[in-house]
């Protein structure tokens, strides 16, 4: 089951992957402090996002899946700087050369221990760190100043989850949609109104709706108003935060079709956040699966759904109800709930519920391994293949303290562990 590393030519593959990158997220972390006790001092962290790395290319849809509370929404909000990250970078429009430089830097720095600065850096690593800093100053979204962020918001937009609370009830629809245009001082008033009409038509509403208030619309129509608002500034990237979870299936299909059409017309890139796997399968090009603040698996959509490797992904996929009464499948039913991100289990976060748990799982957090070209898994069943060229930097920086003497499980465990569906 483990791909033979010789099959893929890592260099060539990576070169293609570095073209047309819109946002490259590296090692993103967001800890929300828990305050309590005397003088409300800092007593702990909710590790909402804990070392997340992935890439979004121009014009593609990346699906972000996971159970509630796994940090999906936080990732979306971080990318737009709606909240500030604890650490990590999101490189915006890096050229292939820059990406190569970043990869090289991360590789020399090597895996960073979870608590950051305590690691001893070799001279080479500290040089790489300085270089990374320089690149980040130029490209990272998180180093932009306030003014630049404001400008960027025209390029990066978001559609919120709940269409009932994300629209200002006291504004008319035309004012809601024109607001981003006003903030960015685009066009004259007449031009803006013209653009509003055009946008309403784009999302399948009619210009007469501009004169109404949000409460006069149904959920699906409101969500379309939210989409129109996000489109107003002709962005190139939209975070769709569960855009259809509050809608009925028939209306959901309408909204998904609109999103798909707009993507084709305007070459938009989407980060589609959802817990609904069938929707993710229908819309995304690539899928990232999160569990408790970490990425457990990422791959092309078809690859992930036909060959899920991580036990969590397998359980998640087998739990999706399929609307076909004739189909009977073996279910992997996970016991228990998602642990609290304030106190995540040590080692692999999933080991408390994992059907294929091994002794190592509760001690070491598994590094990401490229099992097939473009298919990354963080699981001890799939130890990373030590090939010097295949930049492990993409995801492995997250790895915890290096405890290799424990003896990584041999490859005998990997095919047998999680049964292929």
């Amino acid at each position: 089951m483990v791909a033979t590393p010789g099959l893929s030519i890592p260099g060539a593959d990576q070169a293609a992957e570095r073209e047309h990158v819109l946002i490259s997220v590296r090692n993103l972390r967001k800890f929300f402090p828990i305050r309590g006790g005397l003088f409300s001092s800092h007593i702990g962290d909710v590790r909402a996002v804990d070392g997340v790395s992935f890439t979004i290319h121009e014009g593609e849809t990346v699906g972000l899946v996971g159970e509630s509370g796994c940090g999906k929404t936080t990732v979306g909000r971080l990318l737009l700087r709606l909240i500030e990250p604890t650490s990590g970078h999101a490189f915006y429009r890096p050229t292939p050369e820059v990406l190569e430089r970043i990869d090289a830097d991360y590789e020399t720095i090597g895996p960073v221990p979870e608590n950051g600065g305590a690691a001893k850096l070799t001279p080479g690593a500290s040089k790489a760190l300085r270089d990374l800093d320089a690149v980040a100053n130029q490209y990272s979204l998180f180093r932009k100043r306030k003014k630049e962020v404001k400008k960027l918001r025209g390029r990066l937009q978001i559609v919120f989850q709940d269409p009932f609370s994300s629209l200002e009830p006291r504004l008319m629809v035309r004012d809601i949609i024109a607001e981003p245009l006003e903030i960015q001082k685009v066009g004259t008033r007449a031009q803006r109104m013209h653009r509003v009409d055009q946008l309403l038509e784009d999302v399948g509403l009619s210009p007469e709706h501009a004169w109404r208030f949000p409460h006069e619309f149904s959920g699906g129509q409101r969500q379309r108003i939210g989409i129109a608002r996000a489109l107003a500034l002709r962005p190139e990237f939209i975070v769709l935060d569960e855009p259809t979870s509050a809608l009925d299936v028939s209306v959901q299909a309408q909204v998904l079709n609109i999103l798909r059409r707009l993507q084709q017309e305007q070459r938009l890139a989407y980060l589609f956040i959802s817990h609904h796997l069938s929707v993710i399968r229908a819309v995304s090009d690539r899928v990232v699966v999160m569990y408790l603040g970490r990425i457990v698996e990422r791959a092309e959509t078809d690859e992930l759904f036909s060959r899920p490797l991580h036990p969590y992904t397998q359980a998640l996929l087998s739990a999706i109800p399929i609307p076909d009464p004739l189909l009977h499948r073996e279910r992997i039913i996970l016991s228990g709930d998602v642990p609290s991100p304030a106190d995540p289990p040590p080692g692999c976060h999933f080991h408390t519920r994992c059907p294929a748990v091994m002794p190592i799982c509760s001690k070491v957090s598994p590094p990401a391994a490229e099992v097939r070209p473009g298919h990354w898994v963080s699981c001890h069943l799939f130890p990373p293949t030590p090939s010097p060229g295949a930049g492990g930097a993409l995801g492995t920086v997250d790895a915890g303290p290096d405890l290799s003497p424990l003896g990584a499980p041999s490859s005998t465990a990997s095919p047998a562990g999680p049964a292929a569906p």
Partner: protein, 540 residues
């Protein structure tokens, strides 16, 4: 799964205290063409309106369906099509005002739950507006509520949509579960408590056996605790002993007998406590007799005034005698054994829904539990009195897929064990496909299609059903193009004339605007209300 599936064995830790009121039987998942299972709920022509300031919302317009024993009927449709209103109308939980069940029949155990509906209110249209003024006779409404109350819980139980909102935030879980248990199984709980014997000769050896089992493992401890419970004559004491043993073991303790003896103080009742329990039992018996009076009244279509009056007087006398127990100082002492007993019964009920640490959950408050956990608590509450019918109103909508799979598995297993009929309300057709036997598709307050589940998914007939099925994104068919139904659910104050679906229907014909299509038979158990088909009409 075949119809001849063996009866699932009764889980040893669930409901052991109570002899099954009905024999457990295997519920076949595929319904045979001629369904011979007895009908437990027969809803006929249910009409429910909401009288608002904007006008009369015609939420239900003639809904009829039958629910058979041990079957799962799925009720699907878009938001606002009247799914939840249907279930609320059956149990008369519609908020009144503004809503009212206007007409119809709900036959349950041979009794019409909506009996006397016509006399409860008069409707006076307000001239020049769409409004209707409703003059209710609140005395009659209250009496009707009391009558229907006699079947809620034990006859028809409900799982509500939002578990976080259905629980009371200021009471711990065991309080809320215990309330249900006391209401429906109180007499039995008190009987068990009074009969329990700590001094029986077999008890001490059993306690020592449990102490020895602590050194082995959980299974041995559970078996030994069960023995102890049997020896005492109170299974819930066995549960208590098990959790005490488990806690003692995790604390590194080896002795247990002394602790057990101390805990058993709740079984040594003082004469005051016995008197309190007797009067409590008397009250429960009166309310049980009241229930049967109500049900027989609804069956015959008249109120049995004599018996009801007699029971009310008896209840008043018992309550007067109980006045001393209402003093907090006394109440705390005399009610302690019963409080502890209900706590451990609640723990048993939570064990039944596979909650890992039921003692901790029972002590907790609703805000401390996750949505999936609370939903399980709700299910255990609904099933704690072995209902004949379970109405699950979107039981998994608020949950993640992995938790959803757990809950659906649980409901299916319980149905197999107890033979409960389930009315599963959801907008998720995939969930329906997984668990339902038959499906009723609703649109704008009417059932438009009803069919066995395989039939409906392979041969959907109504254009609305076809549209719904085409709009689901499917994991197993990624390349499928998503069709959407144009438009949205109509405003039910001004519902479309004729067939309510015609403004959105791709096959709309002139006749659709004028007449409401009758329900016709289009195959075994497959009924459709659409003018595209012209089979024989459904006979009630």
């Amino acid at each position: 799964m075949s119809a001849a599936q063996p009866v699932a064995p009764l889980a040893p830790d669930v409901d052991v205290s109570r002899p099954m009121s009905r024999p457990a039987e295997a519920a076949p998942t595929t319904s045979p063409p001629t369904d011979s299972r007895p009908v437990v709920l027969d809803v006929r022509n249910l009409v429910t309106y909401f009288y608002t300031y904007d006008g009369v919302v015609r939420a239900l317009e003639g809904v009829s369906f039958k629910l058979r024993r041990g079957e799962t009927l799925g009720l699907v449709g878009e938001t606002g099509c009247g799914k939840s209103v249907t279930s609320f109308s059956v149990t008369r939980l519609i908020p009144d005002p503004p809503g009212r069940v206007v007409s119809g029949k709900v036959l349950f155990r041979g009794a019409d739950l909506l009996w006397g509906l016509g006399e409860e209110a008069r409707f006076i249209p307000v001239k020049g507006t769409n409004r209707v003024k409703v003059k209710r006779s609140f005395r009659k409404v209250k009496a009707a509520q009391a009558r229907v109350g006699s079947v809620r819980g034990q006859g028809i139980a409900m799982i509500f949509q939002e578990p976080t909102q259905a629980m009371n935030p200021i009471f711990p879980i065991h309080d809320q579960l215990g309330e249900v248990l006391l209401e429906h199984r109180g007499e039995e709980i008190i009987d068990g408590l009074v009969k329990a014997k700590w001094n029986a000769p077999t008890v001490r050896p059993a306690a020592q056996a449990l102490e020895r089992a602590m050194k082995v493992n959980d299974e041995a401890m559970r078996a030994a605790a069960k023995e102890l419970g049997d020896a005492v004559g109170l299974p819930s004491f066995g549960t208590q002993a098990f959790y005490m043993a488990r806690q003692a073991r995790s604390g590194g303790q080896t002795a247990l007998v002394a602790d057990l003896t101390k805990a058993a103080s709740r079984l040594r009742l003082s004469s005051g406590q016995i008197r309190y329990l007797r009067s409590e039992r008397e009250l429960m018996r009166i309310s049980r007799e009241m229930r049967s009076v109500y049900i027989s009244g609804m069956r015959r279509g008249e109120l049995e005034r004599v018996n009801r009056g007699r029971l009310t007087a008896r209840r008043l006398r018992t309550r007067l005698r109980r006045i001393p127990y209402r003093l907090p100082v006394i109440k705390r002492r005399v009610s302690r054994p019963l409080r502890e007993e209900t706590f451990w019964r609640a723990v048993q009920a939570l064990e039944g829904v596979q909650i890992a640490n039921p003692v901790q959950v029972a002590r907790g408050f609703p805000h401390e539990l996750s949505g999936g956990m609370l939903q399980r608590v709700m299910i255990s509450m609904a099933l704690s009195c072995d209902p004949e019918i379970l109405m699950a109103d979107e039981p998994t909508t608020a949950l993640d897929v992995t938790i959803q799979a757990q809950i659906l598995g649980l409901m299916n297993e319980l149905r197999r064990r107890i033979g409960t009929a389930i009315l599963l309300i959801t907008h998720d057709l995939a969930v329906i496909a997984e668990v339902a036997d038959r499906v009723a598709v609703m649109y704008a307050g009417q059932i438009v299609e009803m069919a066995p589940v395989q039939e409906l998914f392979t041969r959907p007939m109504h254009p609305y059903t076809q549209g719904l099925l085409a709009s689901i994104p499917r994991v197993d068919q990624p390349s499928k193009k998503l069709e959407s139904i144009p438009g949205s659910v109509p405003n039910l104050i001004f519902p479309p004339s004729g067939c309510r679906y015609h403004p959105r229907c791709p096959h709309a014909m002139p006749v659709c605007k004028e007449q409401r299509p009758p329900m016709t038979v289009e195959g075994t158990g497959h009924n459709v209300a659409c003018f595209l088909y012209n089979g024989p009409p459904v006979v009630e």
